[in-house]
Symmetry: C2
Subunit: 403 residues, 2 copies
């Protein structure tokens, strides 16, 4: 391996924003400044869209104070993009990189971003242009391979845990059926996090449906009816990607003209259809007076002041480590390994191949989902609880003994 | 005025839960314990519904630690109700009160609750049963008469301010049109609070629509188009109660079978219809690639860990003062007067007649709404800002000078 070249670096933020992707950005910036091999650290405005049109800002001169505020801010501070670069797109980027003498490429995002880093690295190799191409994991969905969990997940999971905690208290005060539709197109980790705030035995969510298990309308209504008969109310967390028993998503069935983005993903967020449909079914098929449904939408990934401390720290470390790895290696993706003994949570970071992260996504393992397919297991709680930080304690008195 | 009787007290929480109604409950409990005239302090489980069926818990023995957690918990810790008691209903309550020797009645809620307190007091007078009947203000809508503002508003307003702050950053990162539908059936105060988190000149929400001003679809689309042409994106906060230029709510126009509660209010929360409708209009009528819409739903009133300190303190004081007033007076509603000189925020509490609060609700004053009817004024910001507490600072770098 040749020694690290003296050149410029670029960092980009790709895909959906999260609560801590800016902490990873700051990690890259602060580590890059420590290495004389990196002459300038540029930010690509709107990710690959900025790279292809030579649209950069200089991140090297930001004050420590500014960086602290950036790290604490949700969303993607230098803009993001959902463009999926093809070979022609990447060829243009490499041309811009050559012009700017950019030989370090740090890309914060999901598996599509790892794939972009892989393609760019491969194409640069083909034209004998030496770049070091690194992917830094980010996703609220927690669906990346290799890594134990993804930066961005803990903070979004914290939002869900708190949201359901409050919503369950609201439902206790005014009982009925409450359906909450949460993010999670293919992986149920984020919806499952709705369970993390449960403090009392009969706390909701009482039912949790994730995309990894199909659920027929009959089964769904039967489950809701059972809980209502037992508790007189029911709080349900439903993943936006849940599927009917034929494997087709309920959302897809509901929409004739599904808007698609450039990755071919169906738009599930940003519409209340699924929630309203499920509420309508419960209203019409079960005898429940009060049925309400909410779709949490973009609040889940962008709510400020709600970072999980573990998550923001890890996101920053991942950014820093990408730069450190780039001093030694040609390319790679940063991943997290859990090293604690079960009681004490601890992690270490390591490098994995870009291809390992680029090609597939991860689903919830079977042991995280209950047998009925309508809830999570203790194994999931043990896995996810350290990632969200300490949650507020709440009290409800309505179940206290009567006088 | 006769001296305060030695008897039992009951407290109830009515209407929609808020983030600080439990702080008012705790205020009542802790003050009631100080007065030997009050022998026991009972909680009516599910408000008047508990009173009418003699369903009470004893609040007098809760530990200080429990009370602290209760005060910090969102929702209504002893349950709430949307029942609107008629004379027969109130007669039954008075019967229960007599049986239990309840002669102090504290009711935390909106104007309907003040009305219930008024009716109960009047009916008790008629049968020569001495009760002292007090209303403690609570509403996220901030629509009560007399009081400068309502406990519950500051915390909900804080939620909105933060939500739009994050959502605007998300929209900067992935530009397009974003429509957020916020609570506010008749009063726009809560939707207007979406403006409180603005930190940069071009921060969203760029447009705010409140129920106090009608807006035609033509005007709405024209406004959105103007902002998009100027900024390349547009974030919009819309009150669930906004009306077309014929004065009929858009929500009413959208629903054939509007669910109504016992107060005759149309259900606006708990459906994504309005948001989806507005997004559809923007998509089809304007040339915007990315249009998203969220309906914030019950998160707005029940999200835990998000209390405004000012709000939670005032809510508690209002609870305490109701008990103090009850030692001197027969009935009344607690109200807040702003006494600061504009720079320093300060308040004092006073008693007002139940009828003053029961009969009408308050709308946003004209000076809080801009001339165009699509935004708020500096006067509104000055009024509302002290109520939400310090907000997170954020940073967005995408507008920094290019290199």
């Amino acid at each position: 391996m040749a020694s690290a070249p003296k050149a410029n670096a670029v960092v980009g933020q790709s895909g959906g924003p999260t609560g801590v992707i800016n902490a990873s950005l700051v990690g890259v910036i602060e580590e890059a400044r420590k290495h004389p091999e990196i002459e300038n650290i540029y930010g690509a405005v709107h990710a690959v869209a900025g790279m292809v049109k030579d649209d950069f800002i200089d991140l090297g001169k930001l004050s420590a104070k500014t960086l602290q505020v950036v790290a604490a801010s949700p969303s993607s501070a230098i803009g993001t993009s959902r463009d999926k670069p093809d070979e022609e797109y990447c060829a243009k980027i490499i041309k811009v990189f050559k012009k700017r003498n950019i030989r370090y490429f740090f890309y914060i995002g999901g598996n599509d971003s790892a794939n972009t880093a892989y393609i760019l690295n491969t194409m640069a190799d083909e034209v004998n242009y030496d770049i070091r191409s690194f992917h830094i994991p980010k996703t609220v969905d927690n669906d990346l391979m290799v890594t134990d969990h993804c930066p961005g997940y803990g903070t979004a999971a914290r939002f869900e845990a708190c949201a359901l905690m409050g919503d369950d208290l609201d439902n206790r005060a005014l009982p009925g059926v409450k359906i909450d539709v949460l993010m999670g197109r293919d992986a149920g980790f984020l919806t499952a996090a709705a369970a993390l705030g449960k403090q009392r035995d009969d706390d909701g969510p009482h039912l949790i449906y994730v995309p990894e298990r199909v659920v027929s309308m009959e089964k769904f209504l039967g489950d809701v009816d059972d809980v209502c008969n037992k508790l007189g109310r029911c709080v349900i967390a439903v993943s936006e990607g849940i599927c009917d028993d034929d494997g087709v998503t309920w959302a897809k069935k509901l929409t004739d003209q599904a808007e698609t983005d450039a990755h071919g993903n169906i738009q599930l967020s940003g519409t209340g259809d699924l929630a309203d449909f499920l509420a309508g079914q419960v209203k019409s098929k079960l005898k429940v007076g009060r049925v309400r449904a909410d779709t949490f939408g973009y609040l889940q990934r962008s709510y400020p002041g709600m970072q999980s401390q573990v998550d923001v720290d890890e996101a920053r470390w991942c950014g820093r480590h990408a730069v450190r790895f780039a001093m030694e290696e040609d390319n790679g993706s940063v991943a997290i390994k859990r090293t604690g003994d079960g009681k004490d949570y601890a992690v270490e970071l390591f490098r994995t191949e870009l291809k390992n992260v680029a090609e597939h996504t991860k689903s919830m393992p079977d042991e995280f989902i209950n047998e009925e397919g309508n809830g999570v297991t203790d194994e999931f709680i043990e896995y996810a609880m350290p990632l969200v930080g300490e949650l507020p304690k709440t009290e409800y008195l309505g179940g206290y003994p009567r006088i």
